[in-house]
Amino acid sequence: MRLSAFASVKLTIALMSLIAICILIGAWCPQEAQVGFQKVIDEFGESNALLLRQWGISDLFHTPFFLGLIGMITLNMIACSVQRVFPKARLMKQKMPFLGQREISKLTVTQEAGLRCPAATAMDALAQTLKKQGYSIAVKDGKLTGEWAKVSLLAATVTHIGLLSMLTGVTITSWTGFNGFKPVPPQGVLNFADSEHSKLWLGKLPKWSVRVDDTRREDYPSGDAKQWYSKLSVVDPSGKVLKTEEISVNNPLSYEGVDIYQSSWGLDSIRITFNGKPMELPLRQMGGANAAFLPLDEKTIMIFSLRGQDKPLRIFAKIPEWQQPKMLAEIPKGSVTSFGSVKVGYVKPIPMTGLQYKADPGLTVTFTAFYIIILGCLLAAFPFRQIWATAVDAGSGSCRLYVGGMSKKAKTGFSRSVSKNLKQLIAKFGEFIEPPSQDSLDLQDNDVQPMTAATQECSIPTGS
């Protein structure tokens, strides 16, 4: 099949619409690849979730249908770029022809004015006004041409180059990059063995790993989290430290093309002693606190509540007869308290830092593409305007100035700016009104029909 078969704007619009619909469906249904299938079950119930999985909606962005749409729009974009968009860049080189009064009167925007000054003066004044407005002007033999925002002709070309470059960057990353997430406790090690990458992968995993030396949370006075920090060491297989750095949210560590991000943070467990015996209890998020549970017998549960890394541990007990747990004690880190014959000690909380990592070899290309796309879209915001003018001496030091032009993107605004310029010139030189000739008077008397309601209605376009 020839490439030109894909160079259809109608196809572009159809594909854009279909992709937008798919994306909205993907936004509505939690995506397994991002949040896991359990989230889909939580949202829709198990049977509906299974149905959504069967239809491919719970992992829509990896379905052959969606990937096919992306493939189609890529082909369409390449075809449109080569056949329609890139050739338009040649228009940048095209010079405007100088037009006379007759040609100017046929343009989409055309206006004229009589001025009490010679034609050359009127043309000079108009050229000065247009130059001040940012037009690039050329004058030859009493004829003027001007262009405004010609560079906007490149908008589509630049945007398409950006989009195609972005696809190149994404492809490079997909074939050579990797990423992953791992919760790591202090002194724990992050390696890249479990990382995710595409099936068509040509990359290499690093041999070095990252050790978490320490991790902490900084709070606002209100107790809300302000920042999370983790001190990391990059270590080689022999244990040699290659780099150390403290990371926080928005401040990653970078080493040999791999970036390590502070992604999340939480208290994982508490270390306590129970009658002198050390224990580690897992914490669960409960409201604004973390709680651990220790069943003492069939009826009695001991509950440990911790509101923050540096806060004291609160100990509660709960039996079925009590509606609410009863608080027994509050003990700071490193202390021991007694409940009759039972001694409970609070050693320390064990935090867990959530580390996100990625290697993205296509990033430079992708980011460059991002800036190119922004540039292209910004260029498109400026409407390209072309203006032509000529002036004819009308005797007794007066002239008629003819101005016309085109602006496909902003015709009305352009027309207003032309009439504003003419009004300014009239205000400067005074208006010259030509006396009607005998011929035109005869014409008015014999040929011109008064406009009736019927003719007015006929002139109104009715269809779309």
Partner: protein
């Protein structure tokens, strides 16, 4: 919130309501239209200045860039609507759009004032928002939403001036369904699936009917010149909003890469923003290649406005989760 900030914000809100009635008066009293339109614009300009001062004041009070929750974003949005309208009205000497723009600003002021008190208070930032990227990423998005709204409102006027009154009423019904869903989702505990159904169903049904009726012109009420003018206003508004949305999405990707190690996560909010971008990209392609009439383009712009509402407010009130959850208040 300090008394000064409350006074400035209230001045802006009251100005939008007053200017709305002045603009309405300009339509009722055709002999004094020009004077009343100018008066309405002047009142709105006072509101715009007061809102600018309110936003700056809030920034000084909080000691940070004042754009971190829904309430603050609504202030920015109203600011964008007021400023965008004043700019475009001056460029095109518009007479009809003022009452719609001031009404939109007033509605958003009311919406913001009805949010829970916690939204109005200045609160510390969550770790994810402690970044200079916040002031690079969010303002272009809010300004783009405001410009798309102005484009959508102009599209209603364009259809009206083109005599497509039936399509105007049907598109209004679609917008009303969408905004009702947002309102119910924000202030009541209505089932989220019902709300999503109301938004999507109402929008699709209303716009489809409007599209099928767009060929029917009420010829007695056609004003070709004004229809052309407002068609251009729609296009110009979108051509300002589109690069802003592009910058917002891309800087969001750059920030996400900086903070989380990935520039795209198919998060609901970013997905919706991409769908909105594709919608407006389709509008631009349709327009440049003359694939649709001005009236059909206006309906596409109204559809884009509904997508903008979904992206901006639907995320909060229609039960979507994801990485942008710090924007939520429920």
């Amino acid at each position: 919130m300090s008394d000064v900030q409350i006074a400035l914000t209230n001045t802006a809100g009251i100005s939008s309501v007053v200017s709305f009635w002045v603009f309405v008066g300009s339509n009722a009293l055709s002999k004094k239209r020009d004077a009343l339109v100018k008066a309405g614009q002047f009142v709105l300009l006072i509101g715009f200045a007061a809102l600018t001062a309110a936003i700056i004041w809030r920034g000084f009070e909080s000691g940070r860039f004042p754009l971190s929750n829904l309430y603050e974003s609504l202030l920015w949005f109203a600011w964008g609507i007021m400023g965008g309208y004043l700019y475009i009205a001056r460029a095109y000497d518009l007479k009809q759009l003022g009452w719609l723009a001031s009404m939109t600003a007033a509605v958003f002021f009311l919406y913001g004032s009805w949010l829970p008190a916690g939204q109005h208070e200045i609160k510390p930032l969550v770790p994810a928002l402690v970044s200079y990227w916040r002031q690079i990423h969010v303002p272009p998005l809010i300004i783009s939403y405001a410009m798309f709204f102005i484009g959508g409102l102009s599209a209603f006027v364009q259809l009206w001036q083109a005599g497509r009154r039936r399509s105007v009423f049907l598109a209004c019904a679609a917008l009303a369904a969408g905004l009702s869903a947002i309102g119910l989702g924000t202030f009541t505990d209505t089932n989220t699936f019902l709300l999503q159904g109301l938004f999507i169903g109402g929008s699709l049904f209303g716009l489809s009917l409007a599209w099928s009726n767009v060929g029917r012109a009420d010829e007695k009420h056609v004003n070709v010149e004004r229809a052309e003018l407002y068609d251009e206003v729609v296009y110009r508004s979108i051509m300002i909003g589109f690069p802003m949305l592009t910058i917002g999405i891309i800087t969001g990707g750059l920030w996400a890469n900086h903070a989380w190690g990935t520039y795209w996560s198919w998060d609901p909010k970013e997905s919706m923003a991409l769908a909105t971008w594709l919608g407006y990209a389709a509008y631009i392609h349709l327009r440049i290649h003359h694939e649709a009439s001005a009236e059909k383009l206006s309906l596409v712009a109204i559809g884009g406005m509904l997508l903008t509402v979904l992206t901006y407010l639907g995320f909060n009130s229609l039960g979507f989760g994801g990485l942008h959850s710090y924007g939520k208040f429920k």
